[in-house]
C-alpha cells in the first residue's frame, strides 16, 4: 500500500490502489497455471470432431495401455449432468451417447507429461454417426429439424411472453410508430488468462481440492459434489489470482469437472491447462441475437408503447440460457418510463458451443436496438437525442411496469454531464464531413435480488477476525477477479471502523475458509458483500466501543472512534491497540459475522421469470461517442468517448474509473470489430488474431464522470460500476456513424465490410432514383 502522508486515515472517495496490486505488478501473483504442479499429472481432453451425432465407437483401450498414461475417462465415468438452473442441467462433463457441438469434450487423459497425454488422445478410437447440424436459430427452429434435446420441441429452450400495460392503446396514441430489425453477432469474453485447473484427490482421506479459475467457487463446489457423487464436506475449491472473467467463469465449466474426475481416477494430482483455442470453445459468452423492435412515440418524444422480439442462438446446452433470454426482456424496463411493453423471447438450441453470461448479461443487444431506434425516431420528429431521453425519465423511488424496484436514479445528471463535457450543443450538426457524434444511455443491476441457487439464506456473509496483532482479517467468498472487490471490502471495513487500511487483510474465495458467497456475477459484490462487510464491521465496532466505554468509565453511546482513537468528547482517549488488547482479555481472538439480504419486495414480480432483472439498485450511464468515418475504406475510428455513470457513491473512485473505462471499451470491441464465426461448426475465430479485440492503436481516450445518487440501500450509498456503461457504447457508436455519414446500420459489429455494403447500397438506390426520375 502507498502510505498517505495526510493527517486523515479515511480512505473513502480517495483513489486507492488495489490491495493486491503489488503482487500483480511484480509478477509474484500466482494464477492457476503458476501454482506448483511439478508433481502433477498432465490432463488433456479429446473433443468431438463432429457438430452433431451419436457416438457409435469410443475405444480407449490403446490409450489406457500406453506407458505413462495413468487414467483415461469417458462419459461412462460420470452419469450426472451439471448446469446452472436446477431445472435445466442438461450437460455432461464428457458427452454420453451424443455429441452436440464440435469441440465438445468426449474423453480425457491424465499422463506423466503433455507429450504422452497428447499421444494417448491420438490412440482413442472415436466413431460418430453424424446427424443434421444446425448453426442458425432459423435452421434449428425449422419444422423438420430434429431435436437436440428430446424435451424441447422446436429446439426452443425457453420462450418468454410478457406483457405489461396496454400495448395496442399505446401504439394507437403515438404520433410516430417505427419498427426495425437488428442483428448482433456472437462475441466472447476473451479474458487474457486461458482456462486452467489443478485438482488433487487424496485416496487415503477421500478429499478433493480444486484450485481453479472460477468466479463462483461455491457453484463449482456444488457441481463437483453432484458429478463426482461426493459429500460436499469432502471438497474444497480455492480461487488463486484470476486473469479476468467477464462472465466466462460464473458457470461450473466442463474442464474443471473433468480435471477433478481425472484426479480421482488417477488417485492423485492433475493439472489441466486449456489452449486459447479450447478456451474459446468453452465459450459461455454473448449469443448471436436477432431483434425486432417496434416503438411508439408522441410528437414531443414521449414513449407510448414498445414491442420487442428477441431470438438468441444459444448453442448446444442450457447453461445460463433461461436467464439470458429473461434479462433481454426485463431490462427493457428500469431505465425509462414506458407505459406499455410487450416482450417475446426465444432461446434456441443450436449445434455450437453453449453461450452463457457475459458482462451486461442479456441486456446489451436489447439496449443497442432500443437506443438506435429511439435516435432514429428523434431525428424523424426533429428532436434532439438528449431531449428525447429526458422526456422519458423515471423518478425514484418507483416500481417499473414489470415490478422492479428503482431506489435511486442519477440518469438525468449523467445526461447533463456528458452533454456538457462533449460540448454536444455547440458541436452537433456542425461536425466536419465524415465526423459525427452519437449518444446513448444504459443501466445494469447491482446484483440479482433473487439468486440463481435460491436457498433462502442471506445473499452475502462476511466474517471478520480481530486478533492479538491488531490486524483484521476479512473473510469473503466473493471472488476478486481483477475488478478490485477485495479492496472494496477492505475499504468498507476500514471506513466503518475509522481505522487504517493497513490493518486489513482480505482472504477471498476458498470454500474451506471463507463463508459461502454467490460470487462474482451480476455486479453483486459491491452492493451485497459491501453491505455484509459494513454489517460485520459495525458489530465489531460495537464490541470495541463497549470495551472502550468500560475502560474510560463512560456510557457506550458517548464513545466514538476517530482515526484509530476511542474518545469521549475531547477528554479521555484510548488508542485502538489498547482497546483491542482489553477486548481480547475477555474474549480471546474476536470473530464477528455480517450479513446482507435483499427483502422479498426487492425480488421482482410474481409473473413467471419475474425475478430476473430484480435488484436493489440500478446503475445508470450516459455516453457520447465521437467518430471519424473514412468513406473510401469504410473504416471507423473512435476519436473520443465521454461517459458518466451513476454508481451511487464511488467507494474507490480509482477502481470505478477503471471499471467504467473497461466496460465502455468492451462495448467498443463488440460494436466495432469482435465477432465469433463458425464454418460448419468449426470455430474460425479461436485465436487472439482471428478474434479481433481492439489494441492500443484502436482505443480512444475515455473521459469518465462519476455521478453519485447516494442509493438508500447501497453500502455507503454505492451501486455497481462494472457493467452499466457497456451497453451504451454500441448504440452510441452506430448513432455517431449515422451522424457522420447518414448510414443507419442494423448489424453489429460495424466492420468496414458492413459499412461498405451500406454505402454501396445507398449509391445504388440513389442511382436507381435518378434513373426512375429521368424515365418519368
Amino acid at each position: 500500500m502507498t502510505a498517505d502522508s495526510g493527517a486523515s486515515i479515511r480512505q473513502l472517495r480517495r483513489p486507492v490502489p488495489l490491495i493486491d496490486g503489488v503482487e500483480k505488478v511484480t509478477g509474484r501473483a500466482r494464477y492457476t497455471a503458476d501454482l506448483d504442479h511439478a508433481d502433477a499429472l498432465v490432463g488433456r481432453i479429446l473433443r468431438s470432431p463432429a457438430s452433431h451425432g451419436d457416438i457409435v465407437v469410443l475405444d480407449v483401450s490403446k490409450a489406457r495401455a500406453l506407458d505413462g498414461v495413468v487414467a483415461v475417462i469417458t462419459g461412462d465415468d460420470c452419469a450426472y449432468t451439471y448446469g446452472v438452473l436446477p431445472i435445466a442441467m442438461n450437460e455432461y462433463p464428457l458427452a454420453r451417447g451424443r455429441v452436440r457441438y464440435r469441440g465438445e469434450p468426449v474423453a480425457a487423459v491424465a499422463a506423466i507429461d503433455a507429450e504422452t497425454a497428447e499421444r494417448a488422445l491420438g490412440l482413442i478410437e472415436l466413431k460418430i454417426a453424424e446427424l443434421p447440424a444446425y448453426y442458425t436459430s432459423e435452421d434449428a427452429r425449422a419444422p423438420d429439424a430434429i431435436l437436440l434435446h428430446d424435451n424441447k420441441p422446436g429446439n426452443v429452450e425457453r420462450d418468454v411472453h410478457h406483457q405489461f400495460g396496454e400495448v395496442e392503446l399505446g401504439f394507437a396514441a403515438a404520433d410516430l410508430v417505427r419498427e426495425e430489425s437488428f442483428c448482433c453477432a456472437e462475441i466472447n469474453h476473451a479474458q487474457i488468462e486461458p482456462h486452467a485447473s489443478l485438482a488433487e484427490f487424496d485416496p487415503l482421506t477421500g478429499r478433493l481440492t480444486v484450485q481453479t479459475v472460477s468466479q463462483v467457487g461455491y457453484y463449482l463446489h456444488l457441481m463437483l459434489a453432484r458429478c463426482l457423487g461426493m459429500e460436499t464436506a469432502q471438497i474444497r475449491v480455492i480461487k488463486p489470482f484470476i486473469g479476468g472473467g467477464f462472465g466466462a467463469r460464473v458457470e461450473a465449466l466442463n474442464f474443471e469437472i473433468v480435471t477433478a474426475l481425472l484426479a480421482r481416477a488417477a488417485a492423485g494430482k492433475v493439472f489441466m491447462e486449456l489452449s486459447r483455442e479450447e478456451t474459446f470453445i468453452t465459450h459461455r459468452a454473448r449469443p448471436h441475437t436477432d431483434i425486432r423492435l417496434k416503438l411508439g412515440m408522441s410528437r414531443t418524444g414521449r414513449m407510448t408503447a414498445c414491442e420487442l422480439q428477441v431470438v438468441q442462438r444459444g448453442g448446444a446446452y442450457a447453461g445460463y440460457g433461461v436467464i439470458t433470454i429473461l434479462y433481454a426482456g426485463s431490462l427493457l424496463h428500469g431505465i425509462y418510463d414506458i407505459p406499455a411493453v410487450k416482450y417475446e423471447g426465444y432461446r434456441v438450441y443450436t449445434n455450437l458451443p453453449p453461450c452463457g453470461a457475459m458482462r451486461g448479461h442479456g441486456s446489451v443487444d436489447t439496449r443497442h436496438a432500443f437506443e438506435c431506434l429511439v435516435d432514429r425516431m428523434a431525428r424523424e420528429l426533429g428532436l434532439d437525442p438528449f431531449a428525447v431521453r429526458r422526456a422519458n425519465l423515471l423518478h425514484a423511488p418507483t416500481r417499473t411496469a414489470n415490478d422492479l424496484m428503482i431506489n435511486s436514479y442519477g440518469l438525468a445528471e449523467c445526461l447533463d454531464r456528458v452533454e456538457r463535457a462533449s460540448r454536444w450543443k455547440e458541436r452537433i450538426g456542425r461536425m466536419a464531413p465524415g465526423k459525427g457524434l452519437g449518444m446513448a444511455c444504459s443501466h445494469y443491476v447491482s446484483g440479482a435480488a433473487k439468486p440463481i441457487h435460491f436457498t433462502g439464506e442471506p445473499h452475502a456473509v462476511v466474517n471478520l477476525k480481530l486478533d492479538f496483532d491488531g490486524g483484521i482479517t476479512a473473510l469473503t467468498g466473493a471472488a476478486d477477479i481483477g475488478q478490485g472487490s477485495s479492496t472494496m471490502v477492505a475499504i468498507a471495513v476500514a471506513e466503518t471502523l475509522d481505522i487504517s487500511l493497513d490493518r486489513l487483510r482480505v482472504i477471498a474465495a476458498d470454500t474451506a475458509i471463507t463463508p459461502k458467497d454467490n460470487g462474482a456475477y451480476s455486479s453483486r459484490i459491491t452492493f451485497m458483500v459491501g453491505n455484509a462487510a459494513i454489517d460485520a464491521a459495525r458489530r465489531l465496532k460495537a464490541l470495541l466501543i463497549a470495551t472502550a466505554a468500560r475502560k474510560l468509565e463512560a456510557r457506550p453511546e458517548d464513545v466514538e472512534c476517530i482515526n484509530e482513537v476511542f474518545r469521549v468528547g475531547n477528554q479521555s482517549t484510548l488508542p485502538f491497540a489498547e482497546v483491542v488488547a482489553a477486548a481480547l482479555v475477555d474474549e480471546g481472538a474476536i470473530t464477528v459475522k455480517g450479513a446482507f439480504t435483499c427483502p422479498p419486495e426487492a425480488q421482482g414480480g410474481k409473473h413467471r421469470g419475474g425475478a430476473v432483472g430484480s435488484t436493489m439498485g440500478f446503475s445508470y450511464a450516459a455516453q457520447v461517442v465521437e467518430v471519424s468515418v473514412d468513406e473510401v475504406t469504410a473504416q471507423v475510428t473512435v476519436d473520443k468517448v465521454w461517459v458518466a455513470l451513476d454508481c451511487g457513491r464511488a467507494i474507490n473512485p480509482l477502481a470505478v474509473e477503471g471499471q467504467m473505462q473497461g466496460s465502455v471499451w468492451m462495448g467498443m470491441g463488440q460494436a466495432l470489430c469482435e465477432e465469433t464465426r463458425y464454418l460448419d461448426g468449426l470455430p474460425a475465430h479461436a485465436s487472439m488474431l482471428e478474434y479481433r479485440m481492439p489494441t492500443t492503436m484502436d482505443s480512444p481516450p475515455i473521459e469518465t464522470h462519476i455521478v453519485e445518487s447516494h442509493d438508500p440501500y447501497g453500502p455507503l450509498g454505492a451501486k455497481e460500476a462494472s457493467e452499466g456503461a457497456l451497453a451504451g457504447f454500441p448504440p452510441a457508436l452506430v448513432n455517431a456513424i449515422a451522424n457522420a455519414i447518414g448510414i443507419d446500420l442494423n448489424e453489429l459489429p460495424a466492420t468496414p465490410d458492413r459499412i461498405m455494403d451500406a454505402l454501396i447500397e445507398r449509391r445504388r438506390q440513389a442511382r436507381l432514383a435518378r434513373t426512375l426520375k429521368a424515365a418519368s
Partner: protein, 165 residues
C-alpha cells in the same frame, strides 16, 4: 504398448537471467517462456495465447522486447534475459511497476508483466515517448480489463520519475 517417443535432444544452455548466469540442460525445442516458468521458476511471465498473439509473455532479450512464447530458449545462448521479477530492486518497485500499481494500470494483472516489460523496452530507448509512441510500443500487448486508458497513463507517469530505474 507404445513406448513414449524418443526424448527430445537436450543441450547445455548458458545465459544470463535477471543479471545472474545460469547453466541448464534444455531441450532444443523448448520455448523460452517454458524455460523461464518451469526451469527457472519465474512464473511472472505469462502465456495467454497459442503463440505470439497476445504479448503476455513479453520479456527482454539483450534489452529488446521479445515474445518468449515464440522464441526458442536455445536462441538465448550467451544472451541476457530480463523478466518482470528483475524490475523491483533493493526493496523498491521499479518506476513502471509503481506507476501501474498507483494508477491502476493493472486490474486482473495477467497481461501486466508483459505490458510492463514492453513499456520498459520503450523507455530504455525513448525516455520521453509521446502518447502515440506509447500506443505503438504496446500495440502487441492485449489487455481485456482496462481499455488501455490507465495503462497509457501509467507509462506516462513512469516517464515523470527520473531518479530510479
Amino acid at each position: 504398448m507404445h513406448a513414449p517417443g524418443p526424448e527430445a535432444k537436450k543441450r547445455l544452455l548458458r545465459l544470463r537471467v535477471n543479471g545472474r548466469w545460469r547453466e541448464d540442460a534444455v531441450s532444443e525445442t523448448a520455448l523460452l517462456v517454458d524455460y523461464l516458468r518451469e526451469v527457472a521458476h519465474l512464473t511472472g511471465t505469462k502465456t495467454g495465447c497459442d503463440g505470439g498473439e497476445c504479448g503476455a509473455c513479453t520479456v527482454l532479450v539483450d534489452g529488446e522486447a521479445v515474445p518468449s512464447c515464440i522464441t526458442l530458449a536455445v536462441r538465448c545462448e550467451g544472451r541476457s534475459v530480463e523478466t518482470i521479477e528483475a524490475l523491483a530492486t533493493q526493496g523498491r518497485l521499479g518506476r513502471l511497476q509503481r506507476a501501474f500499481h498507483e494508477k491502476l494500470g493493472a486490474q486482473c494483472g495477467f497481461c501486466t508483466p508483459g505490458m510492463i516489460m514492453a513499456a520498459e523496452a520503450l523507455l530504455r530507448h525513448n525516455p520521453q515517448p509521446t502518447d502515440d509512441e506509447i500506443r505503438a510500443a504496446l500495440s502487441g500487448n492485449l489487455c481485456r480489463c482496462t481499455g488501455y486508458v490507465k495503462i497509457i497513463e501509467s507509462v506516462k507517469a513512469a516517464t515523470e520519475t527520473v531518479h530510479d530505474r
